[in-house]
């Protein structure tokens, strides 16, 4: 057995250097997935690179045009941020659905993204909100849309030496709203059987100007449903539009059959949740 090492660099550059050197280095942020995976011997890293001491991974910045959330910002910190709650309530709700209060005190947005669970609650909400991940690596920084970073269950396009430093989201325009809903068999503390996140902006005449729907737990990765944007843009949320939205959401599903939900069930529920989330986001947009 290799002896595990622990390092807590204070700069992005130092973290990249540690992650690039040798084999078996893992990024350590909240640890709520990582430590469990280590205990279950799913992974056996040689080095943990704790990114929590790097200032830019721990900050929430609300700028004129964008919002930057450090990768190691915890769920509890996001839940307490009043501005984020006002601007992106759907994203905040999605983050806050992850685990108990104890888990919220540790679990990070960067971790939820990079662990790449198809059922990760915050990810559809991030995708809907147009989030991009800022990735640091040996060749400097790059920015990639969240939906493009995910490549499969537990897999991302992060290359050796790379790690997510932050998420950058466009600051929502006026008349914007977002929402995230998930189906679970109990009321709390469970893993999504289906998750649906949506963010939209309305025109002055009350029609939809732009919209992004993303689904979780119905495919190998959380995914954007581009067809949903076409259904919504230019329209109001009447029964015909909702029916068409449900159809495209269901059509985008490629789920697995397991004890948590059958293919038929997940496919149907994705349509239902897409419509319910759209109604909530719409109401929020009208009030904003």
């Amino acid at each position: 057995m290799i002896e595990l090492k622990y390092e807590a660099p204070e700069t992005v550059k130092a973290a990249v250097k540690l992650l690039s050197a040798g084999r078996g280095a893992k990024v350590f942020a909240g640890g709520t997935d990582l430590i469990v995976q280590m205990k279950e011997e799913m992974i056996e890293p040689a080095l943990l690179v704790d990114i929590k001491k790097i200032g830019e991974t721990r900050e929430i910045e609300i700028n004129k045009n964008d919002i930057r959330i450090g990768a190691a910002v915890t769920g509890a910190e996001i839940g307490e941020n009043k501005k984020l709650n006002a601007m992106l309530p759907g994203l905040v709700e999605a983050v806050q659905l992850i685990g108990s209060d104890q888990v919220q005190g540790r679990a990070t947005v960067g971790g939820n993204l990079c662990n790449a669970s198809p059922a990760a609650d915050s990810v559809p909400a991030m995708i809907a909100a147009g989030a991009k991940a800022v990735i640091a690596g040996p060749k400097g920084k790059r920015t990639i849309a969240v939906e493009k970073l995910l490549t499969g269950p537990g897999k991302t396009g992060l290359k050796k030496g790379e790690f997510a430093v932050a998420l950058v989201l466009p600051r929502p325009a006026k008349k914007s709203g977002d929402a995230y809903l998930r189906f679970i068999p109990r009321t709390e503390m469970d893993i999504a059987v289906v998750g649906a996140g949506i963010a939209l902006t309305l025109n002055k005449d009350g029609t939809c100007k732009s919209a992004r729907l993303a689904l979780g737990a119905v495919a190998p990765t959380a995914q954007l449903v581009p067809a949903a944007s076409k259904i919504l843009v230019g329209n109001k949320l009447d029964d015909d539009v909702l029916a068409a939205l449900a159809d495209v959401a269901s059509a985008a599903c490629k789920p697995i059959d397991d004890k948590r939900g059958t293919i038929d069930f997940r496919t149907k529920v994705a349509g239902v949740l897409a419509c319910r989330a759209a109604k909530i986001a719409w109401e929020r947009a009208e009030k904003s």
């Binding site: 640890g31 685990g99 209060d101 104890q102 709390e188």
Partner: protein, 160 residues
């Protein structure tokens, strides 16, 4: 095997300890510091038996590494009462018979304290949500919830 030297504040006292990179806070507390009040339940962050307050936030000690705690402030069940005087939450757990086997109790008490530190007047729903990460197979939870609400009322009355 190289060890990390960590200086942290535990229940108000500065404590030095050494640990390996793979040692959790729970292991450091129970095995090295002989502070066995914090219980080991599932070891995967599901049961809340090992809840401690880290830098003001409740966390599962089984999902925190000892090596990351240099300069951290940690509160455990051992620091809850003052000498022989029980914390109001501890007293109310006794009054309401909010425990049977007791394994989950330190975690529930610590989590309840973390809740009341932030929200001295929680609704029943808020108490139930805050305690959702703590599992108890004996009580059926109702007595625990009542004990927390009662303790909160007492603590508010004693403050005003």
């Amino acid at each position: 095997m190289s060890k990390h030297l960590v200086t942290a504040t535990i229940n108000g006292d500065e404590v030095d300890f050494t640990c390996h990179a793979d040692q959790t806070l729970l292991e450091v507390l129970r095995e090295d510091l002989q502070m066995t009040g914090t219980k080991n339940g599932c070891g995967s962050g599901d049961c809340g038996a090992c809840t401690v307050i880290l830098n003001g936030r409740p966390v599962n000690a089984c999902l925190v590494l000892g090596a990351e705690l240099d300069g951290a402030k940690i509160e455990t069940i051992e620091g809850m009462g003052k000498g022989n005087e029980l914390h109001p939450l501890q007293q109310k757990f006794l009054d309401h018979a909010a425990l049977q086997c007791g394994i989950c109790t330190p975690g529930f008490l610590t989590m309840a304290k973390a809740l009341l530190d932030r929200n001295p007047d929680p609704t029943e729903t808020e108490v139930r949500f805050a305690l959702a990460g703590n599992l108890c197979r004996c009580t059926g939870y109702d007595k625990i919830v009542r004990a927390v609400i009662d303790a909160a009322a007492d603590m508010r009355a004693n403050q005003s």
